[in-house]
Amino acid sequence: MTISTLQDTTLDTLRYGKEQIMKKLFTLLLAISLALGVGAVSLAQDDDMSGMSFEFTEEQIAASPYLQSVLSRLEQSYDTSEFAKDGPYRIAFAAQGTSNAWSALMDAHAYWYVEHLGEDVVSELLYGDAQASADVQVPQVEDLLAQEPDALILVPMGAAALSAPVERAMMQGVPVVLCASAVETDNFVTEVGTNLWVVGASLAQYVVDQLDGEGNIVIMTGIPGVTTSDIMEEGADAVFAANPGIHVLDKQPGFWSPADAKGIMETWLVQYGDDIDGIWSGGAQMSQGIISAYLDAGLDIPPIGGGEWQNGFLRLALEHDIKYLAWQYPNAMITMCIDAALQILAGEPTPRFIDFSGVIPNSEPFTDVEGADYFREDWSDDVHGPITMPDEKLEELGFKVMDDGG
């Protein structure tokens, strides 16, 4: 098995309505078993996979331990022979847990994928629900390790807090796959994710490009102290610093909350009003709050660097014709994490950094130009694409697919 097993399968489920799902399920199962190799087919015609590619300067790399780590790990491979054993495997999954839809969909993907692989591949998925809190996750990882799993997949809730537990897992002989975020130690097998520095920088570059390098902007970060947020901010700062025409009016954390984001944006609007020419936002939920504040104030919305494939955001953006660049952080990447774990347990050499971009279909960044193609009328606001599991799973999970509107 390789990390790119399931890619081709998902398009269909995205594209077709639910009436076709039963039929599709068969196709899907077939497709998964057949598909090997990378098949990055895009929903839109936009095949440009390098939407987030970015030229770093030497200085930027030198200034960022994160960049150094990612760039070097992209080229490294881990000799996993010490972990090789026969299946079926018991895999521990320390998830972000029941905190938001993104995470719930990741869990759903995990359960679906394990079920799909079959009991002779993964006999048990041990699960820990961190409730998005490092305090909860640290002991939980200990609980999971006490069950002596064959591998640990971890969505770390704190880069620092989870470092020592990761090292202890490795010491115990349990290979660790980091999913969606990093920890401070280098002592793990591999990380599945994307270059968050580049994400932050690309979103910033988009804003800069939209303004032709001249203008006032505001920056809304996620949660200070959370790695994903901090690294994206670092990338953004680097780009804005490199563009002297850009004036940063203010930077505040919006805590990835639409309510907090809206509150701060309202204050900015009364403070700067029309002077704001562009906005950098660290997440779609905050972008929703930002848009909402603009709508209330009745002001024109400047370009936003920082949407995501999140149905609610797309709905708003489409309705109000907003210019944005959306990045992606597909929860479906968990399937790649599971694949990575299986690869490790098979003793195959494993890259130390696995970028989902270009592997999971439709996980590339897109702009308002293609936005309509991503928006799904039948999904509820909370759904984050892309979804690689069948639609039934989505409905089972309680995502109401919208009624016809009476």
Binding site: L105, T267, G273, S380, D403
Partner: protein, 327 residues
């Protein structure tokens, strides 16, 4: 003669004492608010722009509505930590029942209110019938409500917030829908507390529960009703918040629970019950909201806000404590 003279002298000194105490209790927080506004005039004149006032007042309303309920609960020597769970529950109910259809807003709100009342009833019964300290009872209910919401949604609230709920974002100059609601509810409940038998009984129960019982007041019923009201105000705040973001948010209103206690306490409502009222809470809410707006206007780090907020709470209660301490 001398006796009469002495009496009047005594009466005078007693008189001054309670008048001073009353003055501090009733107006101390407004003096603090005034000082804050003076500081703001120097540091952030932008605060006094009509637009800013509108924003501050609208955001204050979200906190203010739940703070009304919290004040009522504090008045009967209670405490409600479960409001945080109610915000989330409300947001989920509005999305699930409303499911994007405007005609379902009313049923959604009614459902949320009914569930809220149920939570309040649970709080009230635990506190009165099982004599669980309010802190523990409402903390338990908080975990329970959050857990139940989680179990129901299975982690993912389905449905959409009906767009028409965005009406709460409407405003005419400074007056927004939430502000109107906040002011209206304040007007009603200031009157209820001062002018009705119910209000008197709330104060009586908080001031001296045994005396209230012996005065023929159904103390348990009063306390339960206050917890129910507290939950209903939390639902109202939750609805305004949900309309504000037009989106189901698991972290909706996080922090407003403690802020609502802080607002009431800063406003002079005593932790031991029976003392204080909504006029003080209004000022407490405004102080907290203006402080957080000023932090953004000044471009300060958010963490500074925590420190300032803590110091303001301490300063206010110290003032009340010093003023009320007998010789």
């Amino acid at each position: 003669m001398t006796l009469a003279k002495r009496k009047s002298k005594l009466a005078l000194s007693r008189d001054n004492r309670w008048r001073l105490r009353k003055f501090v209790a009733d107006y101390g927080v407004y003096i603090a608010l005034l000082i804050l506004l003076l500081v703001a005039a120097l540091l952030t004149p932008k605060l006094f722009a009509v637009d800013t006032i509108a924003v501050v007042m609208r955001q204050a309303s979200q906190l203010g509505i739940v703070a009304i309920g919290q004040t009522l609960v504090l008045l009967v020597a209670g405490l409600d930590l479960s409001v945080g769970g109610i915000f989330i529950m409300t947001s989920v109910v509005v999305a699930e029942v409303g499911n994007g259809r405007n005609e379902m807003i009313a049923p959604a709100i009614l459902t949320a209110l009914a569930l809220g009342a149920l939570v309040g009833l649970g709080n009230g019964l635990l506190v009165t019938k099982r004599r669980v300290p309010p802190f523990v009872a409402t903390l338990g209910m908080l975990v329970l409500v959050k857990g139940a919401t989680q179990a129901y949604t299975r982690g993912v609230p389905g449905g959409f917030v009906p767009e028409a709920l965005g009406i709460v974002n409407q405003s005419w100059f400074v007056l927004s829908v939430p502000l109107a609601l906040w002011l209206g509810l304040n007007a009603i409940f200031i009157f209820v507390l001062r002018g009705t038998t119910y209000g008197r009984r709330v104060y009586a129960v908080g001031s001296n529960i045994e005396a209230a019982r012996l005065s023929g007041i159904p103390v348990d019923a009063i306390r339960i009703s206050v917890y129910v009201l507290g939950s209903l105000f939390a639902v109202a705040s939750g609805i305004v918040l949900t309309g504000y973001v037009l989106y189901v948010d698991r972290f909706i209103g996080s922090g407003l629970d403690l802020d609502s206690i802080a607002a009431a306490v800063v406003g002079g409502t005593a932790f031991i019950g029976g003392r204080g009222g909504l006029l003080g809470t209004i000022a407490g809410v405004l102080i907290i909201q203006i402080l957080s707006t000023m932090v953004v206007l000044l471009g300060l780090d958010v963490e500074v806000q925590f420190i300032i907020k803590g110091l303001v709470i301490l300063g206010a209660v110290t003032l009340y404590s010093v003023a009320s301490t007998e010789s």
